[in-house]
Amino acid sequence: MAWIGSGNSRIHGASSGTDGDSPDIAVAPRPSWLLIGMVMASTFGLLATTNDQVAHSYSFQTAVDGTPAQLSESVPTAKFLIKVTVKALGAGDGDTWSSVRLAVHGTITRDPVPLESGVFVEAQLSDRAALGMAPISALTQFDLGGGLSFFGDCAHPGGERACTAQTTLELTRADAGAHGGVLNVAWNVTFDGTVVTQSKTEAAPSDPPWTIEVTPL
C-alpha cells in the first residue's frame, strides 16, 4: 500500500508545475526502478509467506512379524502385547501418532489336526482400556484392524512421559484343544499412518521413528 501512496504524490507534484517537462494534462507517470523493486519485493515476500502456510502430508507404512502361536490341548490360548513407542517427531517435525491404523493378518495351519474337524480359532484385539473389538472366528485366515490411540507426552516424544500405544492380540482355540493336535497361527501387524506438516520434506520416510515390540503375555 505504501508504494501506491508514493506514486500519487509524484503525480500531484508534476501537475503543480514544478517540473518543466511535465505535460499539461494528467498522464500515468513512468514507474521508477525503485517502484518496480518494491513491487517485486512485495510479490516475493507474499509468495514466501504463502509457501509457509501450505500443509504437506505424507503416508507411511511399517510392518512387523508377530511371534507364531501354537495352540494345543495344553496351551489352547496365546496372548501378545503389541507396543509402539514414539521416539521422535517425524520428518518435517510432523507427528506420526495422531492418525494411525493397525491391521493384523493371521493364517492358520493344522498339524496334525484333521482338516475335517473344523476347529475355529477366535482372534480378538483389545486396546489399553481393555475394550475388545468383536472376536473373529477363523479356520484358515483372519484380518483384524482398528485405530491406534497413543498416550503420554506425544508433543515431546522421547521425554519423561513416553508417547506409547499398545494393544493386545488374543488367540484362542474354540475347542479348547479337545480335538488334539496343534493349530499354528502365523501373524503380522501392519501400521498405516498419515503425517501432516507445515514444512515440506524432501522425501517421505518409509519408517516412522518408532520402536515396535511384540511380547508374549
Binding site: R110, L115, E116, S117, G118, V119, I136, S137, L139, A174
Partner: protein
C-alpha cells in the same frame, strides 16, 4: 333485425364450441408422463435351502417367470420398462458358530444363472449376498430371456446354480436361497392392460 343478429351469433358460438370439442386431441403419452404411468408388479417370493458339504458341491434348479396381461397395443418405446429376477443366499453352519454374522469364516459359495459365473459370497459373509438377472428386453436388440415387441405375455426359463468353492476345514454349510421377480410396465393409457408376474421353481 338485432334479434336476428343475436340468434345468429349464439348459433355460431355454439357451433364453434362443439367444433372445439370434436377437435380436441386424444390422450397421448408424452415421455414425461410415461414415467408417472409406470406400473410396478412383483411376483411372490420363492425360497428354499440346500446343504453343501464339500468343495465343488453344486445344486441347481429351474425358475419359470411369466409376465402376462401386457397391452395389445404397445407404446413405441416398449411396454416393459424394466424386469429383473433377484436371487440372494444366506449361509449358516449346522452347529455353532452358526456364522453369517460377518465375524465367522465360511466357505465361499458362487451363485449364477444358466451356468454362467455369477456372484461369490465373501469369506466372512454378514448379510445375504445377491445377484440379478435382467429379463424381457426387446428381442430386436438381442439378449437372453427377451420379449418380442407386441407380445401380450412373455416367458423365461432360467437355471439357478449354487456351487460351494471351498472345502475342508470348513464344515458343511446350509445355503438358504430366496428369489423374486419384479417388473415395471408402461401403463399409459392406463386401461390398456393389468400385468401379472408369476414365478415358479422346478427341480432339474
Amino acid at each position: 333485425m338485432s334479434r336476428v343478429r343475436w340468434h345468429a351469433g349464439a348459433g355460431l358460438l355454439t357451433f364453434g364450441a362443439l367444433g372445439c370439442f370434436a377437435c380436441s386431441a386424444p390422450v397421448i403419452c408424452r415421455s414425461d408422463s410415461e414415467l408417472q404411468h409406470g406400473a410396478s408388479v412383483s411376483s411372490a417370493q420363492l425360497s428354499g435351502s440346500m446343504l453343501l458339504s464339500a468343495a465343488g458341491d453344486t445344486e441347481s434348479f429351474y425358475l419359470d417367470v411369466a409376465l402376462a396381461g401386457l397391452p395389445k397395443l404397445w407404446p413405441s418405446s416398449s411396454a416393459i420398462k424394466n424386469a429383473d429376477l433377484g436371487l440372494s443366499v444366506a449361509l449358516a453352519y449346522t452347529k455353532p458358530p452358526v456364522g453369517g454374522d460377518g465375524l465367522t469364516e465360511m466357505p465361499r459359495v458362487q451363485m449364477g444363472f444358466d451356468r454362467q459365473p455369477g456372484t461369490t459370497t465373501s469369506s466372512f459373509p454378514s448379510i445375504a449376498k445377491g445377484t440379478e438377472q435382467q429379463l424381457f428386453g426387446d428381442c430386436a436388440l438381442g439378449g437372453e430371456y427377451c420379449c418380442a415387441f407386441g407380445s401380450e405375455q412373455c416367458h423365461g426359463r432360467l437355471q439357478v446354480t449354487l456351487q460351494r468353492l471351498d472345502g475342508a476345514p470348513f464344515p458343511p454349510v446350509q445355503v438358504a436361497w430366496t428369489v423374486g421377480a419384479s417388473a415395471t410396465t408402461d401403463s399409459c393409457p392406463q386401461d390398456l392392460g393389468s400385468p401379472t408376474l408369476t414365478l415358479t421353481s422346478e427341480a432339474p
